[in-house]
């Protein structure tokens, strides 16, 4: 009979939340995007201006902070919902625009359409997201509520049927939950794509008094931030997924392992946990049922290898984060030797949606082998940077050119780096492969946890391989000899090549070392560390050869292989900006009035090139570094 009360209990809670949200919508509501991306771009000042101006004008409006909508290129963003108008979203906000909107829109009913980016609801006047080209591709499961709800107020989530999946779960048998996971075909999104149903089954079938659930929010990829965005924008969906998991496998205690460098995520998750506890959605006798589960945040200390599950658990036990050989699997013997389910942030967020809408619904999305969506941080040389969520099976080309809207500044596309330090660089000709775990692996990259960096003609493939190798080399925990020393050796070789001191034989050594490191490493950090090199060697061998044979960096990026030069025909003599811009006083005025660079002094900081007025563009980079005759 407990079950009826859980549903009743929830219904009451939800009704209250709805009432509160509805009353918010009766007056003007301003939602300011305040995830890390927004705050970085200046959201706080925008919010403060709104608050001040509204107070100053004595208007009646509510201002709340929301998370990230995924359109990070347009941050800071704000959504204004004024009764009588469609909810309008404004991008590239600043204090001036905030002031203007309060005056014109709030005060005078003029929505200033010229500054609006998009409307959130269908209307006759202004385009909505469905009119964006990217909408045809996007399918939001994880990011559905991100950017629209206040992550620091549980009522927003409740009003959108949040925690309904939990109620449903409590009415099901644990076995039913697990078979739903198996049927859904959900694969873990932490990188390896392990089937969730299988992991949970093993854990459920391992008898133990105590079991643990851990959410992996370590997010080590140095160029990605989707897990953080999810936690900052909608932490409750993840918590709900963890509750469902705990119920299914019989765990009573859970941890969210967030990296300490993510202070906002840590704070929002803690707030969310507290609010859920207050509502009786966490703790003992959840919603008056017999099910109890509690959550704690563990702040990771920033080591890439701690994203690996056994290393993560070691670090939670207060030890060094060093991976261990498996089996036993975590699901059998994990945290403090107890059966432990460890899943990624996004994986748990999917769980909530799958219970709500059914395994069949989930299977319909994406591909046969990898149902569901993929979440990427689309960054680098692409017009629309931000978070995107697309069904698995979408091609890289669609992602970069349709959703990302291509390469800015008329530059030429060169490659996408996908999967971070464990992934690889894929060239133009691979752009039509569908995005899923297996296809990407075949192409030499990995799905990883979702970092996707677009590279253009100005990006050197040797340098990027070196960048990732430097990262893995530093982050190698040092346990396995091949990973510890092999990566160092590879890094030395790559450094030599970027300095123009490599030889063709080096390329063979790199290949050989890569194989050895893959074989000789215990965990995936080592096993995948050579990927950035292997893919660049496979697809961009000509760039390596240009460095080695001609001392030339085709992208003109490697410092030792370029020089800066002021083209006499283009220099006007009349301006002095380059001289002023040089931090080391290497630029001087020649007797004939033209500017020139003292190559001995030049530190190749790129400043003069950036400051030379575009109508002259007199500063250029030359590779190989040989001065032209005059």
């Amino acid at each position: 009979m407990k079950i009826a009360t859980a549903a009743e209990h929830y219904a009451g809670m939800k009704a209250k939340a709805e009432q509160k949200i509805n009353s918010l919508q009766e007056k003007t509501l301003i939602r300011v995007g305040a995830a890390t991306c927004g705050l970085a771009a200046g959201a706080q000042k925008v919010k403060d201006t709104f608050v001040e101006e509204i107070k100053h004008k004595g208007l009646d409006a509510e201002i709340i902070e929301v998370g990230c909508m995924g359109h990070c290129y347009a941050e800071p963003m704000a959504i204004i919902s004024k009764p009588g108008f469609p909810a309008l979203c404004y991008g590239h906000m600043d204090e001036g625009l905030a002031k203007l909107l309060v005056e014109e829109f709030l005060g005078n009913d003029d929505p200033c359409y010229e500054y609006a980016l998009v409307a959130l609801e269908p209307n006759d006047i202004f385009p909505t997201f469905s009119d964006f080209p990217r909408d045809a591709y996007e399918k939001k499961i994880i990011l559905e509520h991100c950017g629209f709800i206040d992550p620091e107020d549980i009522d927003h989530y409740l009003a959108r049927e949040g925690y309904a999946s939990l109620v449903k779960t409590l009415q099901m048998k644990p076995e039913e939950i697990i078979s739903a996971m198996v049927d859904s075909g959900l694969r873990g999104r932490g990188g390896a794509g392990f089937p969730v149903g299988k992991k949970w089954t093993i854990c459920r079938n391992t008898p133990s008094e105590i079991k643990y659930i851990i959410c992996n929010a370590d997010e080590g990829d140095p160029g990605a931030f989707m897990d953080r965005s999810v936690l900052e924008s909608n932490p409750h969906q993840v918590i709900e997924g963890m509750l469902i998991c705990a119920y299914a496998v019989g765990a009573t205690k859970g941890y969210i392992y967030v990296r300490n460098e993510y202070p906002l995520a840590v704070q929002r998750v803690k707030t969310a946990i507290e609010q859920a506890r207050k509502k009786g959605l966490l703790g003992s006798a959840i919603l008056d049922s017999t099910f109890s589960f509690d959550l704690e945040v563990f702040e990771g200390s920033g080591a890439f290898v701690c994203g690996e599950e056994s290393a993560l658990i070691n670090s939670m036990e207060g030890k060094m984060g060093v991976p261990q050989a498996r089996p036993p699997y975590m699901a059998v013997s994990g945290f403090w030797g107890r059966p432990t389910v460890l899943n990624n942030v996004k994986t748990f967020a999917y769980v909530t949606a799958i219970i709500k809408k059914g395994a069949g619904w989930f299977r319909e999305i994406g591909t046969e082998a990898t149902p569901g969506t993929a979440v990427f941080t689309l960054v680098g040389k692409v017009a629309n940077t931000g978070l995107v969520e697309v069904p698995m099976g979408t091609t890289l080309r669609q992602l970069v050119f349709d959703i990302g809207e291509g390469i800015p500044n008329d530059k030429e596309f060169k490659a996408v780096q996908i999967g971070g330090p464990s992934g690889g660089c894929l060239p133009e000709e691979t752009l039509d492969i569908p995005i899923d775990f297996d296809s990407l692996e075949k192409a030499g990259a990995i799905m990883g946890s979702g970092g996707l960096v677009v590279l253009d003609e100005d990006d050197c493939m040797v340098a990027i391989a070196r960048y990732f190798l430097e990262f893995t080399q530093q982050e190698s925990c040092g346990k396995c000899t091949f990973c510890r020393l092999g990566t160092k050796h590879m890094l030395d070789i790559l450094t030599r090549i970027t300095q123009g001191k490599g030889s063709l034989a080096d390329l063979d050594i790199l290949q050989e070392l890569a194989e050895d490191i893959k074989m000789g490493s215990l965990c995936n950090l080592g096993k995948t560390a050579p990927n950035p090199i292997l893919t660049t060697l496979r697809y961009f061998r000509d760039e390596y050869e240009a460095h080695i044979l001609e001392g030339r960096c085709p992208a003109r990026m490697c410092k030792d292989l370029i020089l800066y030069y002021i083209v006499p025909e283009k220099c006007t003599k009349l301006c002095n900006v380059c001289v002023g811009s040089c931090p080391v006083e290497a630029i001087y005025t020649r007797e004939d009035g033209l500017k020139a660079i003292d190559q001995e002094k030049c530190v190749k900081c790129d400043n003069c090139l950036k400051t030379c007025p575009p109508e002259h563009n007199a500063v250029i980079k030359l590779s190989p570094p040989v001065l032209p005759e005059e």
Partner: protein
């Protein structure tokens, strides 16, 4: 780095405080180190010894943990901290150039603090605003599109005002004499 006057007492008191709150069981080692660092800004050798003593574990274990994780720093932070983003997107558009500029201007390497403890320099991974790349965190505030000129500008404001400027967004070009 040598301790400042009165620092020893502060260290001892903070460690005692934090151990009192979190307890001395082994799994609390990382949280304890985190809180000590939050309090003191870094992990002085003395603090690590105190923790080892109280937790009854070898000092080398504490040192091992402190050096394994990127978060922990063994030298004091500067009054003003510069964290240069070396995430993928920032690196590709010149994060290293910004880092070079700071190193050149401050005459310290990344991970170091100026002898007067005024400035410290670090590199960090993606701070989540790649659109503004290259990005530098100046005392936790984000500066986007940081060119060497901007680096000079940032340092100049510290040096002339003696404190952090409050106005942001105004790009000071030129003015590179420091």
């Amino acid at each position: 780095m040598p301790l400042l006057e009165g620092e020893e007492e502060i260290i001892c008191n903070s460690v005692t405080d934090i151990l009192g709150k979190l307890g001395t069981s082994r799994e609390k080692l990382i949280p304890v180190l985190q809180q000590v660092q939050n309090k003191l800004g870094y992990l002085p050798t003395l603090a690590m010894h105190k923790i080892a003593e109280n937790m009854k574990i070898p000092a080398v274990d504490v040192y091992g943990i402190a050096t394994f994780y990127n978060q922990f720093r063994l030298n004091p932070p500067g009054k003003h901290q510069f964290k240069v983003c070396m995430g993928t997107a920032c690196y590709m558009v010149g994060g290293n150039i910004a880092l070079d500029s700071f190193e050149r201007r401050l005459s310290i390497k990344e991970g170091e603090t100026t002898p007067d403890r005024e400035f410290s320099l670090e590199r960090v991974a993606c701070v989540g605003c790649c659109t503004l790349a290259p990005v530098v965190l100046v005392d936790e505030e984000v500066e986007g599109h940081v060119t060497p000129t901007r680096v000079d500008g940032i340092l100049l404001t510290f040096e002339t005002n003696g404190e952090k400027k409050t106005e942001e967004g105004t790009e000071e070009e030129g003015g590179s004499e420091v």
